[in-house]
Amino acid sequence: MMTSKFKRQSHLVGTKIRSLRKDRSLTQADLAHRIGIQQSDLCRMENGEYKVSLETLFKILSIFEMNIADFFNEDAAAVSRDREYEFLREYQKLSPRAQEEVQSFIQFKVQSEDKVREERIKKEN
């Protein structure tokens, strides 16, 4: 599960709503009608200018429920990429000696996990 530090910014919600709406071939008028808001307000919402109640936000989620898995998968992948970049940035800040230590530690972790895996396979056989 993602932690709060990696939560996606809300402006992406508006963008995501627009792309989901387009994926489902819904016009702004159609979706606005289903949510119960004005078309102009939906347009402002997609641009991040219109603030909605929790109620309306959840109504939108209900409408897109079929696509919600995509909603999450894509963003989970983005979060994972963010964490890797973050790690790389931190790593680059280290001194050459510290970088070597990190590399040794990673090697050690990889070897121990390999060992555990091999033992598990042996047991299963």
Binding site: S10, L12, K51, V52, F72, D75
Partner: protein, 303 residues
């Protein structure tokens, strides 16, 4: 006999009005229902209309939107009385606002404003501008909303309303509008003023909104401990008074605040509580854990 009944009617109406101002809407509705019965018994159209309007006010505050709207349009057609036209129009505006029909709501709010021009009641004039401001805030026209709130406050000063109703609400709303414009410190200062007034006036509804909005403000300022404290206060009152809209907002806010404090267990607890209101939406919790929606949410949008 009729005089006795009219005296009882006046007592019930006064008591109900006080209860509305204190946020005890259920009790207020009971008083107004009794008053309506009496008005029908004495067959006084003016009293019937007035009691029906008052009952509508209490029902609106209880979230019984359809019930609250019943009969108001008919009253508007029949009554020549500015007082009645004011209450019926502003209640219709409030009802439509809660349904998200904001353009229509604005029309009725402006009608209410016209009606109260001829009435020497500064509290009503201020209430009316507060309502128009609320509609603008729901439309996310924040500058227009702030201008209306400030105008409502200036009317309150002109009418020497001091800290009486509806000054507490106007300040609270103005403070929240500042928060939406990301002027957090300014918003907090105004909401704290509203909080003091609400405490003095015994206005629980306004008080709970102050606590809720302070929770939001401190969350945005990343002062999570304070946010948590205010959120808990709001939650306690909302549970006690059965303010469902505030209850949902509090579960969201406390879930979010605790997530940001890395108190995942408590965060889960609150998001689970919120989830109970939306059993058809099993992804809700995951969604809130994944996305920061605090900047696209208006806690005062009732629809």
């Amino acid at each position: 006999m009729a005089a006795d009944l009219k005296a009882t009617y006046a007592e019930l109406t006064a008591e109900g009005t006080l209860q509305v101002q204190r946020g005890d809407f259920r009790q207020a509705a009971e008083q107004f229902e009794l008053a309506l019965k009496i008005a029908r018994e004495v067959d006084d159209q003016h009293l019937v209309h007035r009691a029906a309007c008052n009952l509508s006010t209490a029902r609106l505050s209880l979230g019984q939107i359809q019930e609250a709207e019943k009969g108001l349009r008919e009253i508007l057609l029949k009554s020549p009385d500015s007082d009645i036209i004011f209450i019926a129009s502003s209640n219709l505006a409030s009802s439509l606002r809660r349904q998200g029909r904001l353009q229509k709501a604005l029309l009725y709010a402006k009608r209410a404003l016209r009606a109260c021009e001829s009435i020497d009641n500064y509290a009503w004039k201020a209430t009316c501008h507060n309502l128009i401001a609320n509609i603008y805030m729901n439309m996310s026209y924040l500058d227009d909303a702030m201008a209306e709130y400030r105008f409502a406050l200036s009317i309150s000063q002109k009418g020497s309303l001091g800290t009486s109703y509806p000054v507490d609400y106007i300040k609270e709303n103005l403070g929240y509008c500042c928060l939406l414009k990301k002027r957090y410190r300014q918003g907090i200062a105004i909401i704290l003023e509203a909080l003091q007034i609400s405490l003095a006036n015994g206005n629980t509804r306004c008080l709970v909104e102050c606590y809720q909005d302070l929770c939001f403000a401190y969350m945005q300022l990343k002062e999570f401990k304070r946010a948590d404290e205010y959120g808990e206060k709001a939650l306690a009152i909302a549970s006690d008074k059965d303010y469902k809209d505030i209850l949902k907002n509090c579960y969201y806010l406390l879930g979010e605040v605790n997530l940001l404090m890395d108190n995942e267990e408590r965060s889960d607890l609150y998001f689970d509580k919120l989830q109970e209101f939306y059993p058809h939406l099993p992804v809700l919790k995951q969604f809130l854990r994944t996305f920061d929606v605090s900047n696209i949410i208006n806690l005062k949008n009732p629809f």
